[in-house]
């Protein structure tokens, strides 16, 4: 079903992440050791160039998207077992930039940017409203509300966990890259995402509670091998925008579109879980997002994106590029789930082991007691 180079030996990452081609295999091998003074990343550069030259689609390339995920993971510290000392190893930054150039080139090609409004607060908010309310095909949230099976709900949480167990982190890279009104606005949103000082209310924590209630692991990275390239691409887009200051317009636009397409789908996701008998412990995450994102979308569209366009009109095209990229890439990730399920197959890269068996390292913890969800 998927092409994994099984001949490649992979060592001590914990949880172990399997390579998906020659580039990610070489990267995983490298990262399993401490960096030495004389790290030679020239082979990796050759593989990276070869990967971007030969891929039919960067967005769906398993090897490239896993490699980007790993390289960004060095900055989040989300890869257990990988030395912190790799983060600013220049050879890896070079490799990342080769992949990012191909990634951006593909995004610029496939992401439609609408006609730009005037760079004023209200015109930008209005245009973002029009962009994000345009109907774009079948709806994952409607399927979730009406038809999804219990197995689909589990898959949905697994797919979403790649971002949501680190919820809000990619957009937080933007905070020191902004000033004035846009900075105040993004902090207002992110503060809410992080529970406004109350760790049990952090959105990533609430999501972990939901996963745990369904017998799923909340260890970050546990399900990386299960999700396809497009799911990794969804997170990689945010990391790419967030970690490149020149793209601060795009990360702001991405956050605005993300928040503006959240309240109503989350209500429907919650309805899907309620339909199958799950209680408020499980639906709390979705219920929270109905109300929270109704606040965030206003702040994001007006005070964040609108104010940024007023302060820095040159960023206007990237605000809309980022917003549209969010809709396109997350749309592809959602479409993948919907198409798999309607075809009667799993959306994961390998069939899931039963949710109640297996080696869930933290499923024995009582609901709501632990906020452990990551490294």
């Amino acid at each position: 079903m998927t092409t994994v180079d099984e001949a490649v030996e992979i060592r001590t990452l914990s949880p172990s992440i399997a390579p998906r081609g020659t580039l990610s295999a070489a990267l995983l091998t490298l990262l399993s050791d401490e960096p030495s003074d004389a790290v030679d990343s020239s082979d990796l550069m050759v593989l990276a160039h070869a990967a971007v030259r030969s891929t039919p689609s960067v967005l769906r390339d398993e090897d490239i998207q896993l490699s980007l995920f790993l390289l960004y993971g060095l900055h989040y510290g989300s890869l257990p077992g990988v030395s912190d000392n790799w983060e600013w190893q220049t050879g890896l930054i070079d490799v990342r930039q080769v992949l990012e150039r191909a990634f951006e080139s593909k995004l610029r090609e496939v992401v439609p940017v609408p006609e730009l409004p005037l760079p004023t607060r209200s015109a930008v908010a209005r245009a973002l409203g029009e962009l994000t309310s345009a109907e774009s095909g079948p709806s994952l949230s409607r399927y979730m509300a009406k038809k999804a099976t219990d197995e689909h709900l589990h898959e949905f949480l697994i797919q979403r966990s790649i971002y949501t167990l680190r919820e809000a982190d990619p957009h937080s890279w933007a905070i020191p890259r902004l000033t004035g009104r846009p900075k105040a606005a993004i902090v207002e949103i992110q503060s809410d995402e992080y529970g406004a000082g109350r760790e049990p209310q952090m959105h990533s924590t609430i999501f972990a509670n939901t996963m745990r209630s369904l017998g799923l692991s909340t260890s970050y990275g546990h399900y990386v091998d299960d999700v396809p390239a497009i799911t990794l691409a969804s997170l990689n887009v945010m990391s790419f925008f967030g970690l490149n200051r020149r793209l601060r317009g795009a990360i702001v636009g991405h956050l605005a579109a993300f928040e503006m397409t959240s309240s109503i789908p989350n209500m429907m996701y919650g309805n899907g879980f309620r339909r199958l008998g799950y209680d408020a412990t499980v639906t709390a995450y979705f219920d929270e997002h109905v109300a929270a994102d109704a606040v965030h979308e206003q702040i994001a569209a007006n005070d964040l994106a609108g104010s940024l366009a007023e302060d820095e009109p040159a960023l206007l095209p990237d605000i809309f590029f980022g917003a549209s990229a969010c809709l396109v890439v997350d749309g592809l990730a959602s479409a993948h789930m919907l198409e798999s399920w309607t075809a009667g197959v799993t959306s994961l890269r390998r069939p899931r082991v039963g949710s109640l068996g297996g080696s869930m390292d933290d499923e024995a913890l009582p609901h709501g007691e632990s906020s452990f969800h990551g490294e």
């Binding site: 607060r121 209200s122 908010a125 209005r126 409203g129 309310s133 009104r181 105040a184 207002e188 503060s191 809410d192 406004a196 959240s262 309240s263 109503i264 209500m267 929270e288 109905v290 109300a291 929270a292 994102d293 109704a294 606040v295 979308e297 206003q298 702040i299 007006n302 005070d303 104010s307």
Partner: protein, 88 residues
């Protein structure tokens, strides 16, 4: 309008109408039902429904977008003058 967190404003409650959307309330405030029962806010900043179709009133749930609610973000200078023109 945008300078809502000026120093003299600190500690006050502000209610901001957002164009075609809810009222955003910031500051130190509480919400109660008519008989005085506290309504949990769930967060520091809330969005209050002003289109009338939210399923989680008094809070906004984003449904104003589906029904095409239109209302200005600016408030005309005469007291009580509302720029709102609901369209259902």
């Amino acid at each position: 309008m945008e300078n809502r967190v000026s120093m003299e404003n600190k500690g006050k409650v502000t209610i901001t109408p957002y164009e075609n959307g809810p009222l955003i309330v910031r500051g130190d405030f509480e919400i109660e039902t008519a008989d005085g029962t506290p309504v949990p806010k769930g967060r520091r900043i809330v969005a209050l429904c002003r289109c009338g179709v939210s399923s989680i009133k008094p809070f906004c749930d984003g449904t104003h977008k589906i029904v095409g609610f239109k209302a200005d973000g600016d408030v005309p200078s005469e007291m009580g003058g509302a720029g709102s023109t609901p369209r259902a």
